[in-house]
Symmetry: C2
Subunit: 317 residues, 2 copies
């Protein structure tokens, strides 16, 4: 089997390397690539049997699925697939496949990178040497991960890996997740209620998926519970955190907030948070390693190949 | 038992917190504190039975030991004790005690801090956000520790802990050490010859003690063997590396050197290395965590108390 027509929306040529585009092109008679704002999307969808989409650029809604009479497959080039109406797609027997786990290691390593960068004051240390000062005298307020309480909210793939690494660093690791994870508890990762975790942990790392249930999960009441001196680390979606409440707590100067999804913050949100010295913002560099980029493309293309061969993988619906 | 006179050389009041000075003062009838360049050192040594010394400020040589007729104890406020003539001290029945291991965790965590800071380009990422650019588009050349070859030269306390953490990060871990370490090999840390390690590893971390045998251990021939693209990490003494040979290799632009003992580099050495963009220098912040500072003082004072009670601990001679 081969697709008649692959339509891509919101993907650029640089979204995949030439090798992977070649593999994709071998799976269909033709490929049309549209930008997210193209007015021809619905017309082009009519005879599309394979839709490849970047869900951060384009939401696949009922109307699009209805417009695509012959659609069999939707390939989502991300782990998150909430912006594709996958339940409705299922009613039309359209497979939706995502790319789970490709950035697990990249994000987990970044978590410890930004934690250590902060608690050892690495930026300031480098800058000081460049300015000709080689003394350690102002670095005696730095600290270690060892023996600290490290809390994970959301013990999925990434949360579990962060928990494992925190344990390797000698931290006392706690978690809360919607479901208890026996196999993690057997490794010494201890379950506690959300509020308890927030009030006792020195490091709090968010690894929840963003759903209607988790919007503003870290709300005003919970932000108030965060331990004095703690670091709240958010390499997960911004929507998990109530920014107005966070702004208030950051004003107290007694917690740190480190996050990387600045690309999805509004100018107002950036302004609100970046005024705080105890807020450290990064670009979304959690998933950008060479290794994750290769894995992402590999899985994205394997998904399409698997579907064609009748062995769908990473099907979410 | 109590000492008659404690003499400190090269220690400042801030070397220990007030609590620990109090504990020390309880162990002697009096305490005299001298700067390293004080001309009265030999005179003061005459009736000293307990000498506390910062070996980075002051070398304790035969002549000092000979001048101190009643000396029983030399407390070294560091892990390194090579600058105290401990063998000669032993012939006079003088105990020399050091502070082993107090900074193991601090140094090992720093190793991963500076590695991740570098491979994820954290400084540039933070700076970019401050400049109002939230795009990850220039961070796709970053990389992970997972699955890389991580080499450790010197598998003592710190080297072993770095090896353990590298393993937790999913690296393929190799070591060379003067003696084979069976218990580490059982954990999957693989022994290889120095040259082999240098030529195959992506990360090479130095954890050798500085002795006459290890001066310029990383010499010209070995520097030439380092894998193209590798990172040489030196949180150990500068003397382990031949800086002129390193300068030549850094000029090729195909390896990275990250080190933290800039305080012990000469202005010429700083000039030689800091001109390279692929050389990242830090102040000596490996041991400066709050946790290590407390452990250091605790062990330093416990050593003196142990000796007085007839149970010397951390005696090196």
């Amino acid at each position: 089997m081969k697709f008649k027509k692959i339509l891509t929306i919101g993907l650029s040529e640089s979204s995949l390397s030439a090798d992977y585009w070649k593999k994709i092109d071998a799976l269909a008679s033709k490929r049309i690539s549209l930008a997210k704002e193209d007015s021809n999307i619905k017309t082009q969808l009519k005879d599309t049997d394979c839709l490849l989409v970047n869900p951060f650029a384009f939401k696949v809604e009922k109307e699009h699925i209805d417009a695509a009479h012959g659609l069999k497959y939707i390939g989502v080039i991300s782990t998150a697939y909430g912006k594709v109406d996958y339940n409705y797609a299922a009613t039309k027997n359209i497979a939706v496949c995502n790319i789970p786990g490709y950035s697990t290691e990249a994000v987990a390593e970044l978590a410890f990178g930004v934690v250590l960068e902060h608690i050892r004051e690495l930026e300031r240390a480098k800058r000081q040497v460049k300015a000709g000062d080689y003394s350690e005298s102002t670095f005696f307020n730095t600290s270690e991960i060892m023996s600290k309480k490290f809390g994970i909210l959301g013990l999925g793939k990434i949360g579990s890996r962060v928990a494992e690494l925190a344990k390797a660093f000698g931290a006392d690791v706690y978690y809360w997740s919607k479901n208890r994870k026996k196999e993690q508890e057997d490794k010494g990762i201890k379950y506690v209620e959300v509020e308890k975790l927030l009030s006792m942990c020195d490091f709090i790392s968010l690894h929840l998926a963003f759903t209607n249930d988790t919007r503003s999960f870290i709300n005003d009441a919970r932000i108030k519970k965060i331990k004095h001196g703690a670091m709240l680390l958010n390499l997960a979606p911004n929507e998990l955190v109530d920014f107005e409440a966070l702004d208030k707590r950051l004003s107290n100067g007694d917690i740190w907030y480190i996050a990387d999804h600045t690309d999805e913050m509004t100018p107002e949100q950036i302004k609100l948070l970046s005024k705080h010295k105890n807020c450290i913002l990064y670009p979304p560099i959690g998933y950008t390693t060479k290794e994750a980029t290769i894995a992402k493309q590999e899985i994205f293309v394997s998904n399409i190949e698997g579907f064609i061969k009748g062995n769908p993988i990473n099907k979410v619906n």
